[in-house]
């Protein structure tokens, strides 16, 4: 896994921070001036982790709640296994779970056609919270639920998470 530190030649020459895109069912870790982004979260859950001391951050874009519910070899597709992998990956780049703080966004109820039980968005948020509790990582900011989509931008050095939506403006967590 590549760690982005915002210090590549292109980043320096343009004065823009390195932008690291996180796709659906992916996670990425970055540090320094780099910015992690992910777009189009509907019922998907975005979990941002940040270690202020090492100025390292990680972002996962999970699609479904739990890996136990199905066969798949992609950990990042699920809220539980995705968070676990992200914590490990952050620790490999020097962060410490004891210092990590989490911010979560997404898990909207939009276009949920399920007739019984809770929808995927709600379950993604529940499982996300539960998994963060396993690691004793506090959730210090959140923008979840509702019936609209969101795009995220996470600054690695500060841990600031900017949540944008199509019709509801933007929010800094």
């Amino acid at each position: 896994m590549k760690v982005y530190d915002g210090s590549t030649a292109e980043g320096a020459s343009t004065g823009e921070p390195d932008r690291v895109k996180v796709g659906i069912a992916e996670y990425r870790v970055a540090s320094g001036e780099a910015v992690l982004t992910t777009s189009g979260l509907g019922s998907c859950l975005g979990v941002a982790l940040h270690d202020a001391e090492t100025e390292t951050a990680g972002l996962v874009h999970a699609m479904l709640p739990s890996k136990d519910e199905m066969e798949s070899d992609n950990d990042a597709k699920f809220a539980d296994s995705g968070i676990r992998e992200l914590v490990r990956e952050l620790e490999r780049s020097g962060a410490d779970r004891a210092r990590m703080e989490a911010k979560i966004a997404g898990g909207s109820d939009m276009l949920d056609f399920s007739e019984n039980g809770s929808g995927i968005g709600v379950r993604n948020v529940e499982v996300g919270r539960r998994t963060l509790e396993e690691f004793d990582i506090p959730v210090v900011g959140e923008d979840v639920g509702g019936d609209h989509g969101r795009s995220l931008r996470l600054e690695a050095h500060s841990g600031t998470l900017v949540v944008k939506s199509a019709n509801h403006g933007s929010l800094r967590l």
Binding site: G42, S108, M110, N167
Partner: protein
């Protein structure tokens, strides 16, 4: 030929890994950062291959390959992408035409060798490729004509179908918002042979002629939806592109852009069940909604009246489309009332993909588009059927029935 879901999944992964390998080679040589965005296998009308390239100016490198698999593959950059490459290899290289060409050829050669070797490794067979040829052109002209025929067994002359399989990867530069593409157009017979040998069982196999017919019927469904639009708005509208793609479930939301869209979503039930989306980009939605309104409106923003017009339009387009299917499948396909959506494109598709993704790792996606010359207007229809049920429906499908999708407006209203 029959294609089974397992081997389509494997082939998709293989094409994706090949594209990643190729992209890594390029990143190493140039120091640029790029990532493979989407890889999908598409069954599409020959005339619509490369539709996404539209009228842009492209350059690229083309190879022929033969052996276990045969066909053509081409790496396509738009002008700006090729200049970025040339500049990264030799500073100032972008300004020198000859230098730019040889940079593209050099990079292309390395990337595509990686791509083809990946396939050969997996298939444990040799695939030879011809020396690279530098190509340039406008839009889809840059792509090779494609293999002779899709299905020699079913006889194209009779069915009038001319559809080809295309393996396509879209790769995005991280620092520039520029994409480039790898297209692979395999010849039908060797592909059929390879797929046959890699099939786990016959259980989940779908005969290709049925997939082709399914494509046709989707085209007819779209045409019918387009006629409904025309009837309601007086705007002459044509079905444009119809394709059936196969991709990992997490790539499904990427079928739609990141811009804001307006449209309707329904869940349809029966065999198959799934979701159907009718989406308009915001500008199209305003135009088409105003065309439907009895009084002149010149609003700058999307009002409640616009929304209800779109809801109504989405509803009749959905009916037209679904009726086309039901006719061919000779079943009833019911759907929920349309839900209006107005949001980021990918966020609209994401909850639907997640719902389907609870039961399957890959999905068939049916995409079609309609356009008109009269006003700036475009609509996309996307269907996301339950894969297992789609297979069942196709099992029941008699190929001759495809000619019964002729639009019959009286039946709809």
């Amino acid at each position: 030929m029959k294609v089974d879901i397992q081997s389509l999944g494997t082939f998709n992964r293989l094409a994706h890994e090949g594209a990643e390998q190729a992209t890594r080679s390029m990143c190493q040589m140039t120091g640029l950062d790029a990532a493979v965005d989407v890889t999908k296998i598409t069954l599409v009308d020959r005339a619509d291959v490369g539709e996404q390239l539209a009228g842009g100016e492209f350059v690229g490198v083309q190879f022929g390959f033969e052996g276990e698999l045969a066909g053509d593959t081409v790496l396509v950059f738009d002008r700006r992408g090729s200049e970025t490459i040339a500049e990264a290899l030799v500073p100032g290289g972008a300004d020198d035409g000859g230098m730019a060409r040889s940079s593209v050829a050099e990079i292309g050669n390395i990337m595509m060798s990686g791509f083809i070797d990946g396939w050969a490794d997996y298939l444990e067979a040799s695939i030879e490729h011809t020396p690279p040829t530098y190509v340039e052109g406008t839009g889809r002209e840059i792509l090779p004509a494609g293999p002779e025929s899709t299905d020699t067994e079913s006889g194209d002359a009779d069915s009038g179908l001319d559809q080809v399989f295309v393996f396509k990867s879209e790769i995005e530069w991280l620092d520039e918002s520029v994409s480039f593409y790898i297209y692979m157009l395999p010849e039908y017979d060797p592909l059929a042979g390879v797929i046959g040998r890699h099939a786990d069982s016959e259980d989940d196999a779908i005969p290709v002629d049925k997939l082709q017919v399914f494509n046709e019927m989707t085209y007819d469904g779209t045409q019918r939806a387009a006629e409904n639009v025309e009837m309601m708005t007086g705007i002459e509208t044509e079905a444009e592109v119809t394709q059936l793609s196969f991709a990992p479930i997490e790539d499904v939301p990427k079928q739609v852009g990141t811009d804001t869209y307006v449209g309707t979503v329904v869940e349809f039930t029966g065999v198959p069940s799934g979701f159907l989306l009718v989406l308009f980009d915001e500008a199209s939605a305003v135009h088409i909604a105003e065309a439907m309104m009895p009084v002149e409106m010149d609003a700058d923003e999307f009002t409640d009246q616009h929304e209800s017009a779109i809801e109504e339009l989405g509803n009749i387009m959905t009916s037209g489309f679904v009726d086309g299917w039901a006719n061919v499948l000779q079943t009833t396909v019911d759907h929920t009332p349309p839900r209006l959506v107005h949001d980021m494109g990918r966020a609209i598709v994401d909850p639907l993909a997640a719902q389907v993704g609870q039961h399957q790792e890959h999905a068939f996606i049916i995409d079609s588009e309609m356009r008109t010359d009269d006003i700036a207007f475009g609509a996309e229809i996307h269907a996301l059927p339950n894969e297992k049920e789609l297979r069942e429906a196709l099992d029941e499908l008699l190929v001759e029935r495809a000619d019964q999708t002729e639009a019959d407006v009286e039946q709809i209203f």
